[in-house]
Symmetry: D2
């Protein structure tokens, strides 16, 4: 999984890193950078949702059989608070594993010193693809 993650040019460009990895659970961290912001200086919703999506994708992949790949088929995200902080943390968790479809949830938090703000919550469907190794 770390190898697959490192092949994602887009994630590497953002600067996201894996912070926690367990069966059905992946946390990603995205440190603040000025080029990740929108017009008011907060993290852009595109950055927030990208790590929400990836955290759940890898959480699902962690439960898939060897030699299979993962693809997001759809997701829904609610943006709860301005995405401010020194870094974002996306916690991806498997809600319901399945042979074909796995449903996940991601929660994204903005971390500013000791303060942790709930920035976004997402519900995602991941499909297990045979013959497409990640």
């Amino acid at each position: 999984m770390r190898a697959s993650f490192s092949r994602q040019a887009f994630m590497a460009g953002l600067g996201a890193e894996i912070a926690h990895l367990a069966p059905g659970e992946v946390d990603l961290v995205l440190p603040y950078r000025p080029d990740l912001t929108q017009q008011h200086g907060f993290f852009h919703a595109g950055a927030t949702t990208t790590i929400a999506d990836s955290a759940s994708g890898y959480a699902a992949l962690s439960l898939f059989p060897r030699g299979t790949g993962v693809l997001t088929t759809e997701f829904k995200v609610n943006l709860l608070n301005p995405a401010r902080g020194q870094r974002l943390v996306a916690e991806g968790r498997v809600v319901k594993p399945g042979r074909t479809l796995t449903v996940c949830r991601s929660d994204v938090f903005g971390i500013e010193g000791d303060c942790r703000t709930h920035v976004a919550t997402a519900l995602l469907s991941m499909i297990c693809l045979e013959g497409l190794e990640d």
Copy 2:
């Protein structure tokens, strides 16, 4: 709107540009770049959803009163086909304008020569914010 767009560091970094702008309608174009891809070489879903979100955000803003801003409160996206092509085009359209909430739809297409593939379809809620000019 073009000024607001140009202040979005994240969009500028992706290389997205406004291709069409009319009341309730905004098209964005995102040319292919290797650093926008996922592990199989297609555009990353994060890039696809970012322009889907922004196209609808600006489509909504185009109908808002002067001096107000726009914020995405939530969206849902279905990823329909691998996001391949020389560029992506996101077509944001207002479905239902409202004083507080405006509902939009975005469709994203991958363009490869004459071939146009439906890559994603999204449904989004935008909120009109007074005192937060975009």
Copy 3:
């Protein structure tokens, strides 16, 4: 499909009927009844989303191979206007057919004489199930 529809006790109880049926397209009509309302006298969102879901489910099923069944895996609905009128019409359309997953859209309209109000728009994922005939 009409046989499957008639076996849905819940749909029969609501009084919904098939108004249009073509490959990838199903329209359902739900006539007004006082017991379908919420506290302000409009159609209850539960009734609106039920026919949105079913219209797309049957639209998807119309493209599936014989002997397979359909199941909604997830959907998202935006409620656009109060659901008033003598009847609701839900138009289910296939956006992207697939061997496993089929993505659909449903739009629901309230019909009051000549007036047609856009009540809801939904995006839905349908899964094709072998060995589970509908």
Copy 4:
């Protein structure tokens, strides 16, 4: 809130009842009845999502100021398992209260004796309406 609930003809017709009520939390119970089923004998997804929606609607309303009403603006639901059991329980919880928009989550479980199956998970946006008392 119990008075508002009792005015919902559609909910009364389904037979749903309030099982738990606390600030930001509402549980609804829906006992099995043959007329709530789909073609395979499980609870119809329309019934499942209706109580998911209402549980969150009332959870949101429980935090609103007196004299205001609640309306669902949109929701997304993932159907996780066949909705079987002697009854369904929908647990609506406020994720993020807000002056205008309140984001909620609902989880629906099928109860069969001691067995509790996770049937659906939903993410919902509720709007607070002044001058429309529920």
